[in-house]
């Protein structure tokens, strides 16, 4: 089998699994799967900003909150249609992300982390605090959003909503995937790996970085808006710093250079606590386990789990090929473009140039 066939069959298998398997699952699990895919979109926004541009962000759930609360206030407070409120929320999050990126343009990666933590706390403890902007945050109360209808179909059924979430996730994954292909991908990789060299080649660093931050924040805002429809209401407890740090930790553990990590990270983020519920540990243990995994992973496998697995799979297939002796010209190409792309530059976190202390 040549790599392209393996990849096609793999994708087809994943597609069949993603569409078919939930049919035999309970409503509750389908709901969780939809939430997992929505969290996966937040992971994808991190893949874009960290894996491809080399900047780190600890405030993705603040952007998600902007999307969610825009939808919440417009749908719940002003009786807009969800489909009108959605683009407004995405745009709001995207523009805010680009604004946050302005100081980021002049900061090295290390100090940017302080800025993003400050942004996360600013949104959590000031913008969304009761009393600051009640027409947006609804004070201490929740916004009631409800489930929208899509092309005349009500998304109230759990399978229907799951398919909707799957569609949204696939669209976002394709968008992020496209960012890595072709010219865009080469430009972003050049910026990540050698900023000065990229600038001398005539790449407009400012515009590209602003765009990458804006799109990443818009993705997170999109996830927030869809998440609001999934839960049916918006409350401020789900968008604090710990959520942003948790999703960043999971994205790093899964491997922030890979699009596949988006789905894996999102599902882990939702099903991890659910699995803990059935063990003697409570769901509260989840962040402790994530944090521990993050520390161990950074020391043991710097690339993240998913690219590591893809690489191992690649080596396995590679050896089989070498053993059979067919298609020697494909040796080294890697079985999937995913693994090839993941192994080709250094690990995402490693690619960020070391920062000199002032």
């Amino acid at each position: 089998m040549n790599p392209a066939t393996v990849r096609r069959r793999g994708l087809a298998f994943v597609a069949v699994l993603a569409l078919g398997y939930p049919l035999i699952l309970s409503d509750y699990i389908r709901g969780l799967a939809a939430d997992g895919l929505i969290a996966g979109i937040v992971v994808l926004s991190l893949v874009l900003i960290t894996g491809f541009v080399g900047q780190i962000s600890f405030c993705q759930y603040s952007f998600a909150a902007l999307g969610a609360f825009t939808v919440g206030s417009l749908v719940g407070g002003h009786h807009w249609s969800f489909w009108l409120a959605l683009p407004v929320g995405v745009l709001f999050a995207g523009v805010t992300g680009a604004l946050v990126a302005i100081p980021a343009l002049r900061l090295s990666g290390l100090f940017l982390t302080i800025l993003t933590v400050a942004v996360a706390l600013f949104f959590d403890r000031y913008v969304l605090a009761p009393g600051t902007w009640n027409s947006f945050s609804n004070g201490n109360a929740n916004w009631d959003v409800g489930r929208p209808a899509f092309l005349g179909l009500h998304l109230t059924g759990s399978y229907a909503f799951y398919l909707f979430a799957l569609g949204c996730f696939t669209l976002c994954a394709l968008l992020v995937w496209n960012f890595r292909q072709g010219k865009t991908g080469r430009v972003l990789r050049a910026i990540r790996d050698a900023e000065v060299a990229a600038a001398t080649l005539g790449i407009n660093l400012t515009a590209w970085k602003l765009a990458a931050f804006g799109v990443s924040a818009a993705l997170a805002g999109f996830a927030g808006a869809i998440g609001a429809a999934s839960i049916g209401s918006v409350s401020r407890g789900s968008y604090d710093l710990v959520h942003s740090l948790g999703i960043a930790a999971i994205a790093t553990v899964m491997g922030v250079g890979s699009v596949a990590a988006g789905a894996a990270g999102g599902l882990f983020y939702v099903f991890g606590p659910e699995i803990l519920r059935h063990t003697p540990l409570s769901t509260q243990w989840f962040n402790l386990i994530t944090g521990g995994l993050l520390i161990v992973q950074l020391i043991v496998t710097p690339d993240g789990l998913v690219p590591d697995f893809q690489q191992k799979l690649g080596h396995l297939l590679h050896h089989r090929q070498a053993g059979v002796g067919t298609a020697p010209d494909t040796v080294g190409a890697g079985p999937t473009a995913e693994a090839a792309a993941a192994s080709e530059p250094k690990a995402a976190t490693e690619a960020i140039p070391a920062v000199r202390r002032p």
């Binding site: 290390l110 933590v117 710990v242 409570s282 962040n287 944090g291 520390i295 976190t349 920062v355």
Partner: protein, 300 residues
Amino acid sequence: MLLARFTPSLLPSFTVVGIVLGGIFALAAIGLVLIYRVSGVLNFAHGAVAMFATFVAYQISVENGAPGWIGLLAAVATGAALGYVIERFTIRPLTGRPALVKVVVTIGWLLVLQTAAGLIWGSTAYHQPVKLVSKNGFRLPLGNVVVGYDQLTTLIVALGLALGIAALLRYTTLGNAMRAVADDPAAARLWGVNVNRVTAASWMVGSAMAAIAGVLITPNINFDTYSLTVIVIDAFAAALIGRLTSLPLTVVGGFFLGLAQTYPRSFSSLSGTPSLVTFVLVLAALGILFRPGARRMRVV
């Protein structure tokens, strides 16, 4: 409408509160700067270490009824031990890797400590503050303000420790070694400095200071796991004013932040105002002091 509540006669007492808060911020920020200078790591777990150590003091002094100073000692020991464990087992193995990776490790520690404390002591419940000295106080003749003995103690401890750290860095062998490692680890090693030991010592001292700051701040804030963990961003704001380098400027930054967070409370009842002040300060410090080409200082 908001300004209607403004009462100038309250300003002196707000000043006292702000100075005390600022002293605590300065204390936390000094620990942060010490760790950053010597090991090059922005320690986001600083607030979480302070929180965990403070809850150990809470367990001993409030739950078990031991005297406050025993709780404080336990907190210092816990802080130093956590600092050592973090440096020895999770930062040192990453020697030679980008600074950002080490920063992400401290984020992992933040999650671990925050969740562990929530599991042990409950994440949202009200916790009684750790009492070190009586709240009774004396009346300052100037401005007719009552200063609590606890507030006075806090200020004295904060200033004393700041001076103590300055003296440590300037007059002791360990302090000289820390400054040497901060300037150039490779050269320090050539001169026979045990870089690993000095780095571990800086993490222990810095984390112990965070623990003291955490215990002292409990009467001033909503004492729960999250509020203490996110003190780290206030400490960063103060430290950024000192460009993460200068200890005297960091102390100034701490007091400035404390006052700037407290004064708006005299005319605004918004609960989020202190966060707004911190955010603006972080933005301003990053924008002005860390712009490319900004003059570098070297003052320890």
